[in-house]
């Protein structure tokens, strides 16, 4: 009875949820595998899309791993890591987000039997790390450089990379069309790192084939006042003036008040105000500009004034558009109309207002610096264009990456099979437990070709066996063989131009291994009770929580 009297030691705050040990590790692995299963079917050219409603009722249809992971709104602590690696892959290389999630989940799945058998997870982690280093070295070794080719040739090769990325997306049917467009856009901005120089404008309606690339800037017609239609809508080699001021008749100072004692002075005040605005407008006209753009409003008076003088103007232009015009046309944005020197004016070959679908667009093309590009996307439904934009973003990132580190590897699961083979061979040279672990790492890599087959409805086992046979050939000629998505057999991915930049694969292997190791190294989760304010909805959620009855105290309200 004495032990009963012993006071209970309260270490953690009441309501804290803890779970620990092997069971905890296994349950984390299970959670991660479950998340991996969600995105599994989106991989590859025959991958499917997900339709996700969020809390607000808005809907996204996507094939992009990172987007899906973000929208799933995952709260499980271990599974959240997968969301993070998908995001990091997205921001680092822009593509391969599904791959990275799938690989991480598969690594853990392979580790699970070992953990169940009582292997210390640190052992696993060490072997996984070694395996990933070896794998990355192998990728680098296998990668083929496209450096030193002529611009035309390089463009073709880059387009191949972009096409591989796009093939799994909704716009896959027109991948060549979009791939060339993306390559042209990326080439246009050159080495500059400012990705926002590539604008993507979405215009619902029309067909995706109607999408086009402007070697300059395009933006939607802004709100216009009466008189706008009387302005000319097309110029050749116009001077472009960019402003950040309001051209409106208004009080110059907010809080100023004028007191008049003599009614006859009235007119002079009115005239003075008009003179201020006319002075501004005159200066704009004097500068020789034919197109005046401002980030702030251009009022009806100014619109009519410009219309009288055959000048085009647009007010309330979005800042990013204005900056892009500045970059493209070579002008600078002015905050005053005083002292406008010719150097601050931009120019372009053609300026035109054009009808695109239901909208009118202002298009500046043939800009001297040529450092911007705008892709105008067309498509049948809003969801469609949204998804197309995400896909193009991926493709743009891939091309940019490929321009910088110009090495590519064969896709279609070929590189994964080759690394897998290499690691398997390597593992045989190791004595000790590590052999098993590296072998299982190698097996996990095979998930990519296997999933490609599964998604396409092929017999995965059959295809994988064919692939293994090819890759096991001593001569090494089987190395570039991957899944042939069209026939259900195998084919030389390299010859079929299914290419990925090497950096995508390297980053994916790195991030997935990192994530797997991180999850393996966790053996205890301590979950603090939700703060008082969030108690209302948290109490319910915790009640269903994992970890059985342990530490599940209901707080007083």
């Amino acid at each position: 009875m004495a032990s009963m009297m012993q006071p209970q030691i309260i270490l953690l705050k009441e309501g804290t949820d803890t779970s620990q040990g092997k069971a905890q590790l296994l349950s984390n692995i299970n959670a991660v595998t479950a998340v991996g299963d969600v995105v599994r079917t989106t991989l590859g050219p025959r991958g499917m899309d997900k339709l996700i409603h969020d809390d607000k009722g808005s809907v996204t249809i996507s094939n992009d791993g990172a987007t899906i992971m973000k929208l799933l709104d995952i709260v499980h602590p271990a599974a959240k890591i997968l969301v993070d690696i998908a995001k990091s892959q997205d921001s680092e290389v822009g593509d391969g987000t599904t791959t990275v999630v799938l690989l991480a989940a598969e690594f853990l799945k392979e580790a699970k039997p070992f953990v169940e058998d009582g292997v210390h997870s640190q052992n696993l982690i060490r072997s996984y790390r070694t395996a990933s280093t070896l794998a990355i070295e192998k990728v680098k070794e296998l990668a083929v450089s496209i450096e030193g080719k002529s611009v035309e040739e390089k463009k073709g090769l880059l387009a191949k990379c972009a096409a591989t990325t796009l093939s799994s997306k909704l716009i896959g049917g027109e991948k060549e069309f979009f791939a060339t467009m993306v390559v042209d856009a990326v080439m246009a901005i050159g080495d500059d790192d400012r990705l926002n120089l590539i604008g993507i404008k979405k215009v619902p309606g029309g067909n995706m084939r109607d999408s086009f690339l402007v070697d300059g800037v395009a933006f939607k017609k802004t709100f216009s006042y009466a008189g706008f239609e009387q302005q000319p809508k097309k110029f050749l080699n116009p001077n472009i003036l960019l402003l950040n001021i309001e051209l409106e008749l208004k009080s110059e100072k907010e809080n100023a008040e004028i007191r008049l004692s003599d009614p006859s002075q009235y007119q002079s005040i009115v005239d003075a105000e008009w003179n201020i605005i006319y002075d501004k407008l005159d200066k704009c006209v004097e500068s020789g500009a034919k197109v005046v753009l401002s980030r702030l409003a251009i009022g009806d008076l100014a619109t009519q004034y410009f219309a009288d003088r055959d000048i085009f103007c647009a007010g309330r232009v979005a800042e990013e558009d204005l900056n892009r015009v500045a970059a493209a046309a070579g002008g600078t944005v002015q905050t005053s109309v005083n002292n406008i020197i010719p150097e601050v004016l931009g120019t372009c070959e053609i300026f035109e207002e054009k009808q695109v679908g239901g909208e009118r667009f202002n298009i500046f093309s043939g800009c001297p610096s040529g450092r911007t590009a705008t892709i105008v996307l067309r498509g049948g439904a809003d969801q469609f264009i949204e998804e197309a934009e995400r896909s193009l973003h991926d493709a743009i990132m891939i091309v940019r990456r490929a321009v910088k580190n110009s090495t590519v590897v064969p896709g279609g699961g070929a590189i994964d099979m080759e690394i897998s083979k290499y690691l398997r061979q390597h593992s045989r040279t190791i004595a000790g437990k590590s052999q098993l672990f590296i072998n299982s790492y190698a097996k996990a890599l095979e998930v990519i070709p296997r999933q490609l087959c599964d998604n396409a409805g092929f017999d995965a086992t059959d295809v994988l066996n064919k692939l293994r046979q090819k890759h096991a050939m001593q001569s090494g000629e089987g190395a570039p063989y991957g899944v042939d998505i069209n026939t259900g057999g195998i084919a030389d991915s390299f010859a079929n131009f299914v290419w990925e930049p090497a950096v995508v694969k390297i980053n994916a292997i790195n991030a997935a291994t990192e994530a797997a190791c991180l999850i393996l190294s966790v053996d205890e989760t301590v979950k603090n009770p939700k703060s008082e304010s969030a108690q209302g909805d948290a109490a319910g959620a915790m009640g269903r929580g994992r970890g059985g009855g342990r530490g599940r105290g209901m707080r007083r309200r």
Partner: protein, 535 residues
């Protein structure tokens, strides 16, 4: 929805509020989505063609719309299902881009989905179906290009344009005077078109409607119609050879924008102020008179004193004219919008041959016609009709006709309507199917079959035997190898659409096929629907 369970069978919480979410995946998701898409298409099916029926839709505020236009019907239906929304957007994109064929595109997509369902049951992978559809759509579009005929037209010879617009209008409620409406639409578009650049800005065409009169009274005004009357009832109702001052400043003493205050402490000062105000009015009117204006159109109002003065000085005026109308008037009359009286010059005046006020029937409502303008680049279509719903529907029909005329100016290729284009595409696609190895072949054949559903629906709506009629026309097309046999919806007695003058624009038809394929691909590609259960 639970994704995973631990060793005791308890679900993990992986997603936020996961038990409130439902998940539909795999073939079930596809089937559910297809069913939703088909349901939308079924609603519109009966609206297709010249014998198609209208739908009556009651809005949340009790307002009633009667329409035959696919885009309008779907918009008003306010659908909630996501897939159904995709179909609505599909119809809307067709509306934005082409303006016509909004019903046809949805019927087409519905048929494609129906066929896809059959292929899914056979166990064909959804993406392969979608890819097959894409191949087929390319074949169809190329085929259309081949059979399309160009026709020449110019400003004087616009008969072909009228014929095409008539095809569009024939399915609408206004078809009893389709000839005159089509002519109005074509003339309006030609008036504003820039034939060199092949660009038409439809903003320059104003469509006005007024309840009363009959549809036949609908007219095209080479000029502007303003729903305003003269500011003073005694002003002249008709001005010939008007010189119009277009003002954006009120007939009022000018006010500085900065906050101001006038200190009046003596009677003299008050007197001066009053006098000055009067002088302002006087000067303003004088200014207008001086430059030779015979009509003042003002964006703002003017008080009774000014009104009286204007009347007195015999200067008719219109007040409270909206900015958009003001702009149109300026464009039409070749005038400039003037922001200040000081800037009025004779050159800035707009010129119109005739300005007249017209009252309608027994009502006191009046409208102002500004006609015979210096520059007729802005026109107005004035619709009359028995009731408001009729006018609204006529507006929509005219819009469709305007869009068709615009498309023809952009690209003067046409294909034959009445389902002829679909039937010949169906034949072409069917023939092409055998050349494709692999599973796609089945999908391509399914596409050909889906194409048949448009003429089938046409025949059905016209009270013909759908299968008999379709097969008869099809065999006729093959036998004579002529692509313009279609469904004889109006019972004219011939299947030859060339004789019946039933045309559609090539781009409109191509767009229909491509858009429908695109959306169907999107729907087929979804295999997982995650949603909150309340949706």
């Amino acid at each position: 929805m639970a994704l995973a369970f631990d060793e005791f069978g308890r679900p993990f919480i992986i997603l936020r509020e996961q038990d409130q979410k439902t998940r539909l995946r795999g073939i079930d998701a596809q089937k559910a989505n297809i069913a939703a898409g088909k349901a939308v298409a079924r609603i519109l099916r009966s609206s297709l063609g010249p014998k198609g029926m209208d739908k009556m839709l009651q809005g949340p505020d009790g307002d009633v719309t009667i329409s035959n236009d696919g885009a309008t019907i779907l918009e008003q239906m306010d659908v909630d299902n996501q897939i159904a929304k995709l179909m609505v957007e599909l119809s809307r994109s067709q509306d934005y881009e082409i303006g016509d064929g909004t019903t046809g595109v949805v019927v087409m997509a519905g048929a494609l989905l129906e066929q896809a369902e059959r292929q899914l049951d056979r166990g064909i992978h959804p993406i392969r179906i979608a890819e097959g559809y894409e191949m087929a759509s390319r074949v169809a579009v190329e085929h259309l290009e081949r059979i399309a005929q160009k026709f020449e037209f110019d400003v004087d010879n616009y008969e072909p344009l009228v014929q095409t617009c008539m095809t569009t209008l024939s399915s609408k409620i206004v078809n009893r005077c389709k000839r005159s409406l089509a002519e109005i639409a074509v003339k309006a578009v030609l008036a504003v078109a820039d034939l060199e650049r092949r660009d038409v800005n439809l903003d320059l065409i104003k469509v006005e409607g007024k309840v009363g009169g009959k549809l036949e009274d609908t007219e095209l005004i080479y000029g502007i119609l303003v729903d305003k009357d003269m500011s003073h009832p005694q002003m002249p109702k008709q001005i010939e050879d008007a010189h119009i001052a277009i003002l954006t400043c009120p007939f009022e003493p000018p006010k500085p924008k900065t906050k101001h205050k006038v200190d009046i402490d003596t009677v003299e000062k008050f007197e001066t102020l009053r006098k000055q105000e009067q002088q302002y009015f006087d000067e303003m009117v004088q200014k207008c008179k001086d430059v030779g204006a015979t009509l003042v159109i003002c964006q703002w109002g003017f008080d009774d004193e000014a009104n009286h003065l204007l009347m007195h000085r015999n200067l008719p005026a219109v007040r409270w004219v909206g900015g958009v109308e003001l702009e149109l008037i300026a464009i039409a009359t070749g005038g400039r919008i003037v922001p200040r009286f000081q800037e009025l010059t004779p050159e800035k005046l707009g010129k119109a041959g005739m300005v007249r006020e017209k009252s309608f029937g027994t009502t006191k409502e009046r409208m102002l016609y500004i006609e015979h303008c210096a520059n007729s680049k802005a026109v107005t279509i004035f619709i009359r009709g028995g009731n408001k719903m009729m006018i609204e529907e006529t507006k929509r029909s005219i819009h469709d006709a305007l869009c068709v005329a615009r498309n023809l100016i952009r690209n003067n290729s046409i294909v034959y309507g009445g389902g002829a284009a679909e039937i010949t595409c169906s034949l072409a696609v069917d023939a092409a199917a055998d050349k494709y190895p692999g599973v796609e072949q089945y999908a391509i054949r399914a596409f050909a079959e889906a194409l048949d559903s448009v003429p089938m629906a046409l025949a059905e709506n016209s009270g013909l035997q759908p299968i008999e009629t379709l097969s008869a026309v099809k065999s006729q097309q093959i036998k004579e190898n002529i692509p313009f046999y279609g469904i004889d919806c109006n019972d004219v007695g011939t299947n030859d659409m060339r004789e019946q003058n039933v045309f559609e624009t090539l781009i409109g038809k191509q767009q229909q096929i491509l858009l429908a394929t695109q959306v169907v691909k999107m729907i087929l590609k979804i295999d997982d629907v995650i949603s909150n259960s309340e949706y």
